[in-house]
């Protein structure tokens, strides 16, 4: 395959960025998208040009480290992570635009690498169950209905990649937040802190510069782990209940 790549290059957080154009040939359809960039980087190094910085780690779709806007879509045309997107999803002769995640809460560090530590700060605000090591009761002392466990798991699949934010016109992090609130809210272990959790996490979300949710649904469409949109309904319901109880 032969492709034209328009890639965002930015030397540092405060540097002015711009697109650079690269022609690549000999792309195999079996390559992952990131392997295609590896091959391009090899060539750039040989030519004496600094390689393109991009994030990746596990390359098996679970660590959440990779993330690119590919021709305007978070993680590209398939519903998966960038590392699991393969070149067979493209056609020879195509022009592909590659950009970093776009959101104020995810500032660019270099080229395609962004800072997502704002997600960690949302978790720090309450995305956990408060239990010290050694304080846990016997695991079978609290049965969890299978349906609840399954829904908790489906929400807990979130990998924190940030595609939801990048895909959202408002750059809202509500799908990420809703997934955590739903995961812990479905389980008996998550009940004692349920009200406080949603309020504190949402306050932190706003403080970090994420936008508000206007129910557009792009987040869920872009989510490589198929976190359903209804986690945001759960989030809103939890918020209403929490507000009601605190009155």
């Amino acid at each position: 395959m032969e492709l034209t790549l328009k890639i965002w290059r930015q030397a540092g957080p405060t540097a002015k960025g711009d697109f650079a154009t690269y022609e690549v040939t000999d792309v195999s359809p079996d390559m992952s998208f990131l392997e295609m960039l590896d091959v391009l980087n090899e060539r750039l190094i040989n030519e004496g040009t600094e390689p393109i910085a991009f994030d990746s780690d596990c390359r098996e779709g679970i660590c959440g480290m990779c993330g690119l806007m590919i021709s305007g879509e978070a993680h590209g045309p398939e519903r998966t992570t960038t590392c699991q997107l393969h070149m067979r999803s493209f056609t020879s002769g195509e022009t592909i635009t590659i950009e970093p995640w776009r959101a104020n809460a995810f500032p660019v560090i270099r080229d395609l690498v962004v800072d997502r530590t704002s997600f960690d700060r949302i978790i720090q605000a309450g995305g956990y169950v408060s239990v010290n090591t050694g304080a846990a009761p016997e695991a079978h002392s609290v049965p969890v209905p299978k349906e609840a466990a399954d829904r908790a798991f489906d929400s807990a699949k979130c990998i924190g990649c940030g595609a939801c934010v990048a895909a959202c016109p408002n750059a809202s992090g509500m799908l990420f937040l809703g997934a955590k609130v739903t995961h812990l809210g479905e389980l008996p272990q998550g009940q004692p802190e349920r009200d406080a959790r949603v309020v504190k996490m949402l306050d932190e979300h706003d403080l970090q510069g994420f936008g508000g949710c206007t129910n557009i649904g792009e987040c869920s469409n872009a989510c490589p782990k198929e976190i359903p949109l209804d986690v945001i309904s759960t989030l809103n319901a939890d918020l209403r209940k929490a507000a009601g109880r605190s009155r």
Binding site: I45, E50, A53, D57, C58, C63, Q124, H140, V144, K146
Partner: protein, 655 residues
């Protein structure tokens, strides 16, 4: 040692781990905890603990030490602690809960683990691991880890290789992710409380050792390039394994040996480096561009049947057109008691044997077809497609995304790949390395798996170390505090910092012709070819020569572009690959000296009559702990004898 090996290493004093009390094995851990000194809660916040890595071991240790009130600094190279490679573990975590009443017990988990490790692990450590395993499940459930449950609301279990009970707890094929998120959340809770400080996108590049005691680290801020000094009262390495020395492996791209290797060069012994686990169920290589290999959970072997065609001429056929009588279900044939659930080393070796016989399937890579079928047709027929989807759906999706084939219709193709490294920093019963004040937990130490790791045991060991073992052993050391204050201009600190800067400058100034990756790939090929699934005396000697000359070329001819004071991924890789050269050489020396086959170390010269691995307990029932021999010196072998008091040493059999 015979003269032909003496050019590769020297033999030093034997070592012994004398920390475990001399009482019956069931009482050791309880007694040891009681005997360990305590640290008053008010004094804990005055003590600084550095933990490198935030995988299951590092994150759980950071959370637990933070909860206890210590002042923890956590370092990791990813942008978020949640991304450590433990997240990719799929299948499950073992625990001796005996929820199924199928005969499990602490002792049986202990027994299975020692046997699975081919009698090359330390009894005291393994027993403790089994003992605390049940608490891990309790802890994870309390944190909200959504394990699979049955309709009664209780936890579900499945079985893994090398085991005849169902003791594996799981969360679909994403158990590692769920457990890591649990540990990460517990750690983030401590960040909010101020007991844990995170240093994201930081790489540890040197240990600071003052008067033979570890007192801190030198780290590079990977965004600004700043070289930072961090002093502490104790340093804990939870920095994972070194499988990426092979370039192609199931490890994340960033996994590296630098933290452990830098510690080794400062005096920490590196134990059993040749023990590499080759995982039997990975997606085969598709071409030269390949950056990594993807593992398919071992749990698939519960329902998938492994086979190759009986006749080599059928290998090109569509597998669905090969009738039952022309298929060789070789694991079921050779190992009727364990069948498809034999341990990983055996399943891997037999897959290689089938391909070497010319009965491999899939596209040719070089002259060989490197693949065997993992077939779910009979399971789908027996249980129905929805049941298979519920159990393995995400794995099937992943397979079809990578290969473009539908495993519900066509059998999966799998082949062994480098996975886990059982070797690592030598530690005693307290998980302290041979350097005082320097501890190592999880995959970065050597301690619990012997020569081969059972499936679903890595998560167990990492969390056992992080939640329960380290926090209880390190306090005995910290109770001796306060330690003398060290200033940043102490000569040892300055020297450590200077050596880091000089190394970075050296890498940037070579300005040669080859990229870091090209060297890494070449090193990986050497390691796979000569120190992979099968090792020979001749091959290992050749590998050592090849590695030495490649390392030499690296330092003359590598091209690292860009600057030190910015995000520079080539520079990061260069430093890691430089360490992989040194480690790779030591792995080959270790493999060369161990003239026996055991677990993940298969010496072609040491086999039984029917081709199985043959151990030599009379000569090699020891841990090989290697001391750094200096810049141009040979490594020094320290032996720790393994004494089996509670389990009888015998040849492993899964037939």
């Amino acid at each position: 040692m015979t003269d032909t090996l003496s050019e590769y290493f020297t033999v030093g004093d034997p070592i012994a781990d004398t920390k475990a009390p001399d009482v019956p094995i069931e009482q050791m851990w309880t007694k040891h905890q009681f005997d360990s000194a305590l640290v008053n809660p008010n004094n804990r916040r005055k003590l600084d603990v550095i933990i490198v890595g935030t995988g299951l071991a590092g994150a759980s240790a950071a959370a637990t030490m933070g909860e206890a009130g210590y002042n923890v600094k956590s370092f990791f190279y990813q942008d978020s602690a949640r991304r450590a490679h433990s997240i990719a573990a799929q299948g499950g975590i073992n625990a001796a809960k005996n929820y199924n009443d199928d005969g499990d017990s602490t002792y049986r988990l202990f027994y299975d683990t020692v046997k699975g490790g081919d009698y090359r692990s330390r009894e005291s450590n393994v027993y403790r691991l089994s003992e605390v395993s049940a608490n891990i499940i309790d802890q994870a459930v309390a944190q909200g880890v959504p394990f699979a449950r049955d309709y009664g609301g209780l936890l579900d279990n499945r079985s893994f290789g090398g085991v005849q009970v169902a003791r594996t707890f799981y969360a679909a094929g994403q158990t590692g992710q769920q457990l890591l998120i649990g540990a990460y959340q517990a750690m983030e809770r401590q960040v909010a409380k101020g007991t844990v400080t995170e240093y994201s996108r930081h790489e540890m590049l040197e240990v600071i050792i003052v008067d033979d005691v570890a007192r801190g680290i030198i780290a590079r801020d990977m965004v600004t390039g700043e070289i930072e000094t961090h002093l502490a009262d104790v340093v804990v390495l939870a920095s994972g394994g070194y499988g990426n020395v092979f370039f192609l492996s199931t490890n994340a791209m960033g996994c590296n040996v630098t933290a452990a290797w830098r510690a080794h060069r400062k005096g920490a012994y590196f134990a059993n480096p040749c023990y590499t686990q080759i995982h039997p169920t990975c997606i085969p290589v598709s071409g030269d561009h390949q950056s990594k290999l993807t593992l398919m959970s071992e749990s698939l072997r519960n329902d998938g049947r492994i086979w190759v065609p009986k006749n080599a001429e059928d290998c090109e056929k569509d597998p669905r057109e090969i009738p039952e009588e022309d298929r060789d279900y070789y694991l079921e044939r050779i190992y009727p008691a364990f069948g498809n659930l034999v341990p990983r080393d055996i399943a891997s070796r037999q897959a290689k044997n089938m391909c070497d016989e010319g009965r491999g399937v899939g596209p040719k890579v070089g002259d060989f077809r490197r693949g065997v079928y993992l077939d779910f047709a009979s399971a789908i027929e027996r249980l129905g497609r929805p049941a298979i989807e519920a159990k393995y759906g995400n794995l099937f999706d992943m397979y079809s995304r990578i290969t473009g084939e539908d495993p519900y219709q066509v059998p999966m193709r799998i082949y062994p790949a480098v996975h886990y490294t059982m070797g690592g920093l030598w530690v005693d019963y307290d998980l302290q390395t041979s350097v005082k004040g320097l501890y190592s937990i999880g995959e970065s130490n050597f301690s619990d798996h012997g020569a081969n790791r059972l499936g679903a045991s890595s998560l167990m060991q990492c969390l056992a170390d992080g939640y329960f073992v380290l926090p209880n052993t390190v306090r005995d050391y910290l109770a001796k505090a306060p330690f003398e204050k060290i200033s940043e201009d102490h000569p040892a600190v300055v020297a450590a910092k200077n050596s880091v800067t000089e190394r970075i400058d050296a890498l940037l100034s070579i300005n040669g012709e080859r990229s870091v990756d090209s060297f890494h790939r070449e090193l990986g090929n050497i390691m796979w070819e000569y120190c992979g699934m099968e090792r020979t005396d001749e091959g290992l000697r050749k590998a050592i020569d090849l590695i030495r000359s490649l390392k030499d070329e690296f330092w003359r001819n590598v091209r690292v572009l860009g600057a030190a004071d910015t995000l520079n991924q080539s520079l990061e890789k260069a430093g890691r690959v430089a360490d992989f050269f040194e480690l790779g050489e030591l792995m080959c020396i270790d493999a060369l000296h161990r003239r026996e086959s055991c677990g993940g170390h298969f010496r072609a010269e040491s086999v039984t009559e029917d081709g199985e691995a043959l151990r030599h307990d009379d000569e090699f029932a020891y841990v090989a702990a290697w001391g750094f021999g200096g810049e141009d010196g040979a490594p020094v072998l320290h032996k720790e004898d393994l004494n089996y008091k509670f389990i009888e040493l015998k040849q492993r059999s899964y037939k």
